[in-house]
Symmetry: D2
Subunit: 331 residues, 4 copies
């Protein structure tokens, strides 16, 4: 796969749809959360992180989502705005919903966990009528994060955004982003992930996430090739399957495949690796780079974020990624 072609007549590079949350990261780390006494607040949520990453890399971005009518919601909008992200597509809930929270626990670089607050969250209340078709018509890319499919009406809002994107030739990138909370059952997850993937041009997920999506398909041996192949009958041009420390593999509609490896890093925590990878990788594709070079850029970006305390706030600039790659090559 040489490269992906994006629309050229668009005022926006990138629009993400979905979760806008707050991360509360432990200040005192390498211990159980019971012993952590103070937390620092960051904007979080996978599509928010990726969008912040894209903006940090210099692209023109916007966001479709919903925030709570409280201090956390206003902080999120302020932060996005201050980071150059358009917020015209973000609505504010008026039903008393809250902002999703993720308290991070870092017992050791290998032992990280998250304590989630996802009951009655504003982001899952995004409604179809709140999806601005014109924003999607003006953007080169729509990024869909799978978690936004977990509940109604956010689920329907995403399904409608997918229809609008296809109608306007906006490239759809689907980041599976599976989180067990919010979903009613594994069957439901499989069915809606499948529907979203059917309408996507680029699909990114871990091997485990693709297994989930294939629950009702025939791929008992969890073959990457079988996984990738089925999507080319729909709209996919590129399917990226991530294997953690073993790197990732990208399959193209043309039959090509590329392996990507990871960069060494002084890991503080593993959170945010996938989001910064996605930001770097998509940035590369949108520069017209080939898949292989884009994967490398994504990996370097990921390594920077896992060496930092936050996810969103640590998203690197192009210069930082290039410097990191240079330094790694020398080491």
């Amino acid at each position: 796969m040489d490269s992906i072609t994006f629309a050229t007549d668009r005022g926006l590079d990138f629009v993400a749809i979905g979760r806008l949350c707050i991360d509360l990261n432990a200040n005192e780390i390498n211990r159980p959360m019971e012993e952590t006494m103070t937390f620092t607040k960051y904007v979080g949520g996978s599509p928010a992180n990726i969008c912040i990453g894209m903006s940090r890399l210099g692209l023109k971005t916007d966001f479709i989502g919903k925030v709570a009518d409280d201090q956390m919601g206003r902080f999120i909008i302020d932060y996005l705005h201050n980071n150059g992200i358009g917020t015209s597509g973000i609505t504010t809930d008026r039903t008393g919903a809250v902002t999703g929270l993720a308290f991070t626990e870092i017992k050791s670089p290998e032992e990280c966990s998250i304590l989630m607050y996802r009951s009655n969250v504003a982001d899952l209340l995004l409604a179809p009528i709140e999806v601005d078709e014109s924003l999607l018509a003006r953007s080169k890319v729509l990024l869909v994060s799978g978690t936004a499919l977990a509940q109604s009406p956010s689920r329907e809002a995403v399904l409608l955004a997918l229809r609008y994107a296809r109608k306007h030739g906006t490239k759809v990138i689907f980041d599976i982003d599976y989180r067990p909370y919010s979903w009613a059952s594994l069957e439901e997850t499989a069915i809606f992930y499948h529907l979203a993937a059917e309408k996507s041009d680029i699909i990114i997920g871990t091997r485990e996430e693709f297994n989930m999506l294939e629950r009702f398909d025939d791929n008992a041996e969890h073959s990457d090739e079988v996984t990738a192949a089925q999507w080319f009958d729909y709209h996919a041009e590129l399917v990226v399957i991530k294997h953690g420390k073993d790197g990732s593999i990208a399959y193209g509609k043309d039959g090509s495949s590329q392996r990507g490896s990871i960069f060494p890093a002084k890991v503080i925590k593993t959170f945010g690796a996938g989001d910064s990878y996605a930001a770097g990788f998509i940035y590369g594709l949108m520069q017209g780079w080939d898949v292989s070079r884009s994967m490398t850029f994504g990996s370097a970006s990921a390594s920077i974020v896992i060496s930092s305390h936050s996810c969103s706030d640590a998203m690197p600039t192009v210069e930082q990624v290039e410097q990191y790659m240079l330094a790694s090559r020398k080491a």
Copy 2:
């Protein structure tokens, strides 16, 4: 459109998925329900009626659905079985759900209404894992009734059945069958009806139902032609739009269109007209008849049912339809 081609290597002609209910029809009619003192019990629900109609017409049929674990549920299974319909695809709820009820009120042939009991009904609890893929692989046709998309997990069960049907080359007939209860919003309805229609070979609905489905599309003038055209880009071969007393119009993928008119009838009530039309029409298509002849057969079938007290129980045999057409021509 000359005719539709169905798979020939199948043991079953027809499988319907969705609602299995009880109709409680007023015995004393032409008065408000307040004054009706006794009711007669029938099997009801649009896909059940159509399936009973298909069986009455001599086809080999089966049903995918869920019934309550009570006397009403057992009555439904017994009735289907006694009418030659396979019931292996019907599961029984174990959570205490009830059977949906429809009390009919017949104030006059023109003024009919229904009082529905649809809270906590068993039919909407059909789960994806209860959808028997082999049944769909063995059938020529899958009939989907839109009401089954109204709530989870029945919604996901239908979405999965659609996937299985497409996988196995089973012809999908989508009867929109819009009922306002059960749905959370008009937007949600539009989105899921659209998803089902995208995967269907034949789509049948009233003009009002297509308007609902097109809520997020560009067809402000509600043009039948515009409506039909959009589906041929997906999988549709035939789109039938019904205009009540003004008959119906069928558009083929080949650009053809056919108008169908209605037969005169001594109307007792209007309930069941759509279901008996669908049964007769699909029967015709499956005989290899052209669209026009099939529409005529459907119309005659509808006229028989609206002249009777029940819906399901009044579904005619081939002989009865032929006789009715003959008698009408003479009159």
Copy 3:
């Protein structure tokens, strides 16, 4: 216990609060419901039956409740009105709730069962602000049926009605009337039944119902005496414990106790026995009769109803009860 004293300065004899439903009684009996094809519609629900019974016996009655905004709801109001029961305390739901249904199955006089429809029913939506304090201030008696405590806001409406009744010296009669549906747990049932009993002057229930109510009390041997004794520390003057075919026993605050026996009857079905007993018994007490005579009158009333097809519609007049007692004595 000689007799109970009621307020004398009241314009109303009796107000009931709670369930207003529809019974659909099998017309073809002595068979399973699967084989019953037609049903007859009656007003039902324990407090409705008792109130109809009281009105049939000549008392001035009113009702506090809520009906659905449909044909069934209007039928109920019409029926009560036509039977001389005040309906000013009955409100109409506007949220789309339905009327509770009870399909009766009569396999044999000994094998009767009920198929209930109790999801989203209007009667459980009665709200505290809809409880008319002046109605309670004008009545000699408030009858509370336990089922109305099963869910909010009906639960709170009943708790408020109890407060108003105590405030105005209106005699509270609590008919436990336990029905397993609607309640979240046995513990919840026990707690709210206890709260209602604490505020009641007369408590009526079966031995099994009192066991339920005593779940957190010390009466492991289910002694009737222990049961009765605890309520005299609150407001009770009379506690009636029913033992089915073995008759009932009434304990007075003064230490007295009376046994009541049942009358012979040509039983069609057992439904309605408790309600007609309650109507007859309360009628007797309100005539100033002693407990024993009142129990006898209640038993005769019960025997009449179980010999009939309906519950509410079969409630006897004073003359019918007296005639029945006379005939029984001769036999």
Copy 4:
């Protein structure tokens, strides 16, 4: 009112029932929360604060409640244990509920607000069967915090605890503690607060809280005397009505009344004032002090807490309160 008599044969002084939460207090204060970047974690919730206060004052205490099965829940149990509070009455939720959170915003000492997370919280899942009767039988006092009445099954657990306390002669102190979230309606609040107050020996609340409780009573002018008087017909010995900066007034069953005033303080935030007042006041009563002296001790205790960053952690010892009163008198 000279003094209140408590049982003398008890192994425990004080058991509280209800909310166990986490406070996340802004580290950077005197600004809107949008600009607060770090938060410090404390145990919170009104009954938890009071119980910690009582333990700090040297009493033998225990707690009946429920915590989430997560790091926050374990932190709460550890903290209580380390502060000498018995935790045998605290159960752990196994349904995936979370710990309630309260983010505090301190714009200025006068402008404080709280952002609550109360959806799906473990504390409201305390069930009746989890209320240990023997703990209540062994304690001199049961403290009920009104918020625990907001939802089932915690509501029923509290109603049962009240019954057990009355049965065993355990003094019931009801702190109204009204919080608008969690409750379905003002009517529901009024009804359950009334039921709890009916069973209480000492009732404490602000004027606004008593207004809420009296929604269905006759006290249009919100008279403190009328408020207090109605409870002496039930079980109350003492009713304390708080008027914020204007101090409080306590009415005794004997007709006496006492006014209490507040101590000067260098206020950081107003949170926790009521809880520390309650702890100091109840402590005084349990020492056999008269009402007036107890109120003074409570006021001093409150002033200490509002001069500190936290609520629970700032609860003073007897020595600290005495020193504070001494210093205030000199100033």
